[in-house]
Amino acid sequence: MRILTLATTALLTLAADAAYAHAFLDHAEPRVGSTAPAAPKEVVLSFTQNLEPAFSSVEVSDANGARVDLGKPKISASTMRVGVKPLPPGTYRVRWQVLSVDTHTTEGNFTFQVGQ
């Protein structure tokens, strides 16, 4: 039992040194599934790991599938932000795919609404 405990401790210590893992979406602005009272000027995604900019991207589209983002996102550490066109009231979908610095790819999508 002591050997198991020691082995586990050693592995977790090594893991802490590596301190990597997949990049999960930690939070977004506008918040996932929320209704923004006013049209946002940008969409900001914050992840649990730092991102590799060349292989990370995001797009925002309206209910008809038309792109409403302003193109290439700005990526700094674990945050990705992209500007959006003036958004009339409606539902918008954010689709993202990122490569964390430890080379794992993750992806996801969510919607938010701009208030009626």
């Binding site: 090594l14 649990t48 490569l99 080379t103």
Partner: protein
């Protein structure tokens, strides 16, 4: 050479050397299937369970208490083919205080990833589980003289592809496995009984709070809650052939519990409720510390041994 070209080439080289395509542990699109405790998840992966601990009471009258420790190590050989080695140890303590203990047979599982459909959050995995006879404590009855071979099919399906109107329901996922266990001997001369062929099957129903937060609605819940996957697992076996003189009774447990998802590990805790009297007495406990080796060591043992160096995919919405 353009001054932008060099860093680009360097980055491409970095990606080519180190990147897996990858959803190394069980990511399928936006869905993450955790390593379940009683049944297997539907992906090959680089991971380790250290240990899985189960405590329960046997079906005997009066019941004996049983403690089981299991160690599993899974390694991808290629991107889609992996091998798991497992070893368990069991201790049975009788009501009169006498104790029996020993190792089960050494087990290997060979698995091949048939499908990962990102848009439908669907994963299908095939495998063959082999319990190697005479590799455990045969004298104390915890291992057998014969081997067991179990071809098995595993499936996982997330419901994130349902229409948005299904809202919170989309955070549900199910996994299942079904195998046909074939013993290499039809008769156990030690215990003087026929050795049945068995259907070994199970399933899990899981609700992903991480998925709810990142894909459906961020409710602003405490961080601990957002790392949880409440789960119910079902693990069963039914003798189906060569069971002369014995009842064809299904045995198994229903396991409600939860899994906490950390960055490089997960912790699972479940109750084990016998499905009938033949499956045990009272409620047992099952716990597991599970390590994601692909996250802990992404450039070494977290990589497939062969062919794991494909460049990352560009965005393909």
């Amino acid at each position: 050479m353009s001054r932008h070209l060099l860093p680009t080439l360097a980055l491409a080289g970095f990606a080519a050397v180190f990147a897996t395509d990858a959803f190394a542990h069980c990511f399928v699109g936006a869905r993450f299937f955790p390593a379940t405790l009683a049944v297997d998840d539907p992906c090959v992966a680089d991971e380790m369970s250290l240990p899985t601990v189960a405590w329960s009471q046997t079906a005997d009258v009066p019941p004996a208490s049983m403690l089981n420790l299991e160690f599993d190590f899974s390694k991808r050989i290629t991107e889609n083919f992996g091998v798991t080695v497992s070893q368990d140890w069991t201790q049975i303590r009788q009501p009169n205080g006498s104790v029996m203990q020993g190792f089960g047979n050494f087990e290997t599982t060979f698995q091949y990833q048939i499908l990962k459909d990102r848009s439908h959050e669907l994963a299908i995995l095939s495998g063959v589980i082999v319990d190697w006879g005479r590799t455990g404590s045969t004298g104390s009855g915890f291992a057998t003289d014969y081997s067991l071979v179990t071809p098995t099919l595993y499936v996982g399906k997330g419901f994130g592809d349902l229409p948005s109107s299904f809202s919170w329901f989309r955070a549900f996922a199910v996994t299942g496995q079904v195998g046909y266990q074939i013993p290499t001997n039809s008769f156990d001369f030690t215990q003087n009984v026929f050795v049945p062929q068995q259907l070994v099957y199970g399933a899990s129903l899981q609700y992903s709070m991480p998925y709810l937060k990142s894909e459906i609605v961020d409710l602003g819940l405490p961080d601990f809650i957002n790392h949880l996957i409440p789960i119910v697992e079902l693990s069963l076996s039914t003798p189906v052939a060569n069971n002369f003189g014995n009842p064809y009774t299904t045995t198994g447990t229903v396991n409600p519990g939860f899994i906490y998802i950390g960055g490089t590990y997960q912790i699972g805790l479940e109750a084990m409720i016998p499905v009938n009297r033949a499956s045990g007495t009272g409620v047992g406990v099952l716990g597991q510390l599970h390590l994601y080796l692909d996250d802990m060591f992404p450039s070494t043992i977290g990589q497939p041994l062969f062919g794991g160096t494909t460049a990352p995919r560009k965005l393909t919405f």
